[in-house]
């Protein structure tokens, strides 16, 4: 069943339909929040907030965008809201030198992947953290693999061309900074 069909079923009283929507999109919602917050625990909190809000507001869903885009937009805004909170900013100050947490994948990394997780990877993680948020967020959101450029642009409320530019500009800055660190 498509997302829209599940939404219709839920609105007609089939509560299990929403559980299926949760199962389908929990990873995408989590990764969207993770791209903004860089903390697994905070991302899980935002994931729960997002689905609770979506449950409460589904009757007001106007189908102007796909259900996935609507849901990820809620996640994006909740994550931004948390990022701008005083407590989160204080936590950032305290953990100023912390990098992204090590990636934990559902499947063990291959040999190639293990090789990648080395010095270059650490430098990339550190440099990503230092990117301005308007470039970093689109780069990481695109990297989740759950959004194409059009969906990304809809979520961020910017033109598709701008979304593409921000991702490529983030990559260009990363290349430049990596070159300065000796990675060619």
């Amino acid at each position: 069943m498509t997302d829209e069909e599940l939404v219709q079923e839920f609105l007609q009283g089939a509560s299990a339909a929403f559980d299926e929507l949760v199962r389908r999109h929990s990873v995408a919602v989590y990764r969207t929040a993770l791209a903004v917050l860089r903390s697994g625990a905070d991302a899980e909190d935002v994931m729960q907030e997002t689905f609770v809000l979506a449950f409460q507001r589904l009757q007001g869903f106007r189908h102007e965008a796909s259900f996935k885009t609507w849901l990820l937009t809620i996640a994006w805004r909740r994550a931004l809201h948390r990022r701008r909170s005083l407590t989160w900013q204080l936590k950032e100050l305290v953990m100023a030198d912390a990098e992204f947490p090590q990636a934990v994948t559902a499947h063990p990394p291959s040999v190639d992947q293990a090789l990648i997780v080395g010095e270059l990877s650490r430098d990339v993680r550190r440099l990503i953290r230092k990117l301005p948020s308007r470039l970093r967020d689109p780069l990481l959101l695109k990297a989740t693999g759950h959004l194409d450029y059009q969906e990304l642009a809809e979520m961020l409320g910017i033109p598709t061309g701008t979304a593409k530019w921000r991702v490529s500009e983030a990559r260009r800055l990363l290349r430049l900074k990596l070159a300065r660190l000796g990675h060619y």
Partner: protein, 265 residues
Amino acid sequence: MAVMKIGPGSRGEGQQLRSAGFRHESIESRIDEATRLLMTREPSPEARRAVLAAIARLQTSAAAAGFEVQRGSSRLTAISMSMAMVLLGFVAFRLFVPPATAAQAYAGEALLIQLSGSSLAFWINTTFVYPGFLFIHTLGLALVVGIGLAVDLRLLGVAARVPLAALRALIPAIWVGFWMSVLSGVVLFTADAPGKGENALFSIKLVLVASGVIVTGLIERHLFRADGGMSPSRSRTLAIISLLLWIAAIVAGRLVGYAVDGAFV
């Protein structure tokens, strides 16, 4: 990859360009891989179960209470905001549209004196009515400002783990408090109409309260929209404005009783 030119002495350059092209591709793919690895995390099974449990609780309480999802603002919010705008308009008219003639100014003052000299005002001032309505006025203020400040602080990130949606249930209490203050305020005004009517601080207090109500209504109307609410920066801005308005309203309200003829006594 860069386009290579074939010409005298270009072989070395061509090799460098080919190498640069290879390295460019290599660093690009490394960025891709590193970025993808960062974003391939998945939520823990416990977190997923917690989401389903939270949804199940909502479904149970919704079914039990005949809950219906509400969109946007309630009728009570709209009426309260309208009243606040009327109040703002009235005070603005008094402040910025002076009486055309001395007779009109005298008539306004005479009306206030007549009101305070009425038997109604006498009854209010000489019985338990005045302290009773003062109590109701204070209680209404406590509801409006207390809950309003809690919502504002939550929007500014204090107690971020409290879901914002949970605060929505408290919003109607703000409007109940507002109307308690308005209706009791009319009674209190009647008891001392000239003292309040000619007191600039009283007008300032009304402006601040009315503005606070309008901002609170905007916060409620936009924060709980179906598409996930207003942008974080807008909600923070409104929360800061609301916070400042309510604090100023409290201070102005307290000072009204101490200001006589433009001086504090």
